[in-house]
C-alpha cells in the first residue's frame, strides 16, 4: 500500500504537443482517486506516465516514497487494468490471472492456487478454464481485476474500467468496483470521461483540461463548488446554469432579474462589475407564484428525468433550467419563478470562482 505523488510532472510528445503541463498531485494511501476530463485532456497520458508506459519529460513520479520516474513499469510495483482489459486470448482464465506470478517465477502449483483463490473471491470459480473469448464483458472485467489483485501491487491503475460494458452492467460494475476497492484498501487511480462515474466512485477526483488539473476535491466539493466555469459546465448530469450578471448595489442583475449576492461572494464584489452567475438546476426552488429574488420567465421546455422534471424557463431571452420534483411540474407556457438557493449559488470572475 502506498501513496502516489506527482511533482511538476510534464509530458511533451515529439512534435511539441504538451500533454501534461507541470502537474502536482498527491493521492494518499488507500484512496480511490478519479482522473476526469473530456477526451484529449491528458488523463490517460497521466495514468500511463504513472504506470511508466510513457516516460515523463520533466518532474517526478513517487510511489510509496520511492522516486520511480526512471524505473521501468515492471519495477514500479503497480498493476494496471486496461480499457480493453488486455486479457491474453490464448490463455485460459486461470493462466491469465496467474500470469503476473509466472513473471515473478512463482512455482506453477502455487500460482494456480493463488489464481483459484482470487478467482473465487470475484465469483469466477466456474470459469477458470475458459478462454477470454468465451466470456462476457463483465466477466472479462472481473478476470482483469483478479489479475491485478494477484499481483499484490502497492497501487492499482484503471484506464476507463467501465467504458467497455453496456449501460446496465456499468452501474452494477460501478458498485462492485467501489466495494472491492474499499475491501482491498489499495491506492487506486482510475481514468474516466464520465463525470457521473467519477462522482459515484471516487473518494477524491481531479478534473483535467488540456494537460492541466482544473480542480481537485471530493465529489461533493467538485459538484457543489466547482472552482471554475470549465468544471462547473463539465460536472453534473444536467448542466449548471451559467448566466451573465452585473453587480448593482447589493444585488446582481441577471437577465433582467434582481438576485441577492450569493453567500460565498458577499463583500468581494465591486459595483458595476461583470460576472458569471452559476447555479445548478438541482439547487433552484421552482414556484408558480411570484417570489422575490427569482428568475422569472415562461416555461418553454419540460424534460422528464424520472422522479423529477427539468424545467427550462425563457428569462428575457436567456434559458434557465430548474429541477422540479414530480407532482409539481408546471404546464408549458406558464409563467414560472425559479429561486436559486443562496448558499449554493456561485459567482465566477474571469472564469474563476469568487470566494473568500
Amino acid at each position: 500500500m502506498a501513496a502516489i505523488e506527482l511533482r511538476g510532472l510534464t509530458k511533451v510528445y515529439p512534435g511539441g504537443v504538451k500533454a501534461l503541463d507541470s502537474l502536482d498531485l498527491t493521492v494518499p494511501d488507500g484512496e480511490f482517486f478519479a482522473l476526469l476530463g473530456p477526451s484529449g485532456c491528458g488523463k490517460t497520458t497521466l495514468l500511463r506516465t504513472i504506470a511508466g508506459l510513457e516516460t515523463a519529460t520533466g518532474g517526478a513520479v513517487v510511489i510509496g516514497g520511492r522516486d520511480v520516474t526512471g524505473v521501468q513499469p515492471g519495477g514500479r510495483d503497480i498493476a494496471m487494468v486496461f480499457q480493453d482489459y488486455a486479457l491474453f486470448p490464448h490463455m485460459d482464465v486461470s493462466d491469465n490471472i496467474a500470469y503476473p506470478l509466472r513473471i515473478k517465477k512463482v512455482p506453477k502449483a502455487a500460482r494456480h492456487a493463488k489464481a483459484a483463490e482470487v478467482g473465487a473471491r470475484l465469483g469466477l470459480e466456474q470459469l477458470m478454464d475458459r478462454r477470454p473469448g468465451q466470456l462476457s464483458g463483465g466477466q472479462q472485467q472481473r478476470v482483469a481485476l483478479a489479475r491485478v489483485m494477484a499481483t499484490q501491487a502497492q497501487a492499482f491503475l484503471f484506464d476507463e474500467p467501465l467504458s467497455n460494458l453496456d449501460a446496465r452492467l456499468r452501474l452494477e460494475a460501478r458498485t462492485f468496483l467501489k466495494k472491492l476497492q474499499r475491501e482491498l484498501g489499495v491506492t487506486t487511480v482510475f481514468v474516466t470521461h464520465d463525470q457521473a462515474e467519477a462522482l459515484a466512485m471516487a473518494d477524491r477526483m481531479a478534473v483535467m483540461e488540456a494537460g492541466h488539473i482544473r480542480q481537485i476535491g471530493t465529489p461533493a466539493e467538485v459538484f457543489q463548488r466547482p472552482a471554475n466555469t470549465f468544471v462547473a459546465a463539465f460536472i453534473g448530469s444536467t448542466p449548471m446554469n451559467l448566466l451573465d450578471a452585473v453587480v448593482r448595489g447589493d444585488t446582481l442583475e441577471v437577465a433582467g432579474c434582481k438576485l441577492p449576492v450569493p453567500a460565498s461572494a458577499e463583500g468581494l464584489l465591486t459595483e458595476g462589475e461583470k460576472l458569471v452567475y452559476g447555479v445548478r438546476p438541482e439547487y433552484m426552488t421552482y414556484s408558480a407564484q411570484p417570489v422575490d429574488g427569482s428568475l422569472t420567465g415562461g416555461v418553454v421546455i419540460l424534460e422528464n428525468l424520472g422522479a423529477s422534471h427539468l424545467v427550462t424557463l425563457d428569462v428575457a431571452g436567456v434559458l434557465v433550467q430548474a429541477v422540479v420534483p414530480e407532482g409539481h411540474e408546471p404546464a408549458l407556457g406558464e409563467q414560472g419563478y425559479a429561486v436559486p438557493r443562496g448558499d449554493r449559488a456561485l459567482v465566477y470572475r474571469d472564469g474563476e470562482l469568487v470566494t473568500a
Binding site: G52, L53, D84, Y85, A86, F88, P100, I103, R131
Partner: protein
Amino acid sequence: MTRTWAGRIGFYTLIAVLLAFFTIPLLWLAAAPFTSDPTYEVRMPDFTFENFQTIIEHPYALGSLVNSLILAIGTALLVVVLSALAAYALSRVRIPGRDALLYALLLLSSIITGTAAMVPLFQLAIELGLIDSHTGLILILTGGLLPAAIFMIKDFMDATPKSYEESARVFGASPLQIVRHVVTPVVRPGLATIAVWTIANVWGNFLMPFLLLSDVEKQPAAVIMYTLYTEGGQANLRVLSTFGLLYSVPVVLMYLFVSKKYGFRFHGGIKR
C-alpha cells in the same frame, strides 16, 4: 428465361472445361504411378507397384526427398524466427521511412533468389566456401524469402493490440518474455502460414539447389526429378510419375495438417 438458361449452361460449361484443365494432370499423377507402362494419357491403372520398387532402388531418389526435407524445414525455421523478430520490431518501433524500407525489401527479395542474381550469388557462395553445402543453400534461400515473410507477418503483428504487451510489461515481463508468452502465441496462425509458405517455396525451388549444389547426393527432389530420363534421353514416365507422386504427398499432407491444427483464425479477446 431461355436466355438465362443458355447463360447458365455456358457458364457451367466454361467452369467444367477450366476444371478439367486442372484436374486431368492430377488424375494422371494419381493413376500413372500404378500403371506398368504409362503414357501421356490418363488411363485406368493396372495397380502395379513395380514403379515404386524402381524408385526405392534408385540411388538418389529417396535421399533427395530427405534432402528436400532438410532444406525446407531448415529454411522454414530460420525464416519464421527471423521474420517474427524483425516484423515485431518493425511493427512496434517507429522509424522514419519504415514503410519505404519494407517495400524496398520486398522488391529486392524477388531479385535475390531470381535469375538475375544467379552469377553473383554463385560467386559469393564460392568465396564464402558455401558452395555444395546445405547450410549455404539454406542461408541463401532464407535471404530470398525473408523480406516477403516479414511483410506478411508484420500484418499479423500490427493487428495484435498493443495493450496485450503493455499489460505484460506492467507485470514486469522482459521484451523477450513478451515475445515468447504473448506475441508469438497470438500471431501463431501467421507463423504457421509463413512456415507452410516457406516449405512449399523451398520444396519447389529448382534453380538455387541446381546452381549451388554439385554433389548429386545433396540434391533435393526438385533437381533429381530433372534427371529421371531413360537411356535413350526420353523422359522416363514410369519413374517420373511415381517420383512426382512421392514428391507431392508431403506438401499436401502438410497443408491438411496445418489447416486442421491452426486453422487460420484469430481467437481475439475483445471485439474492437
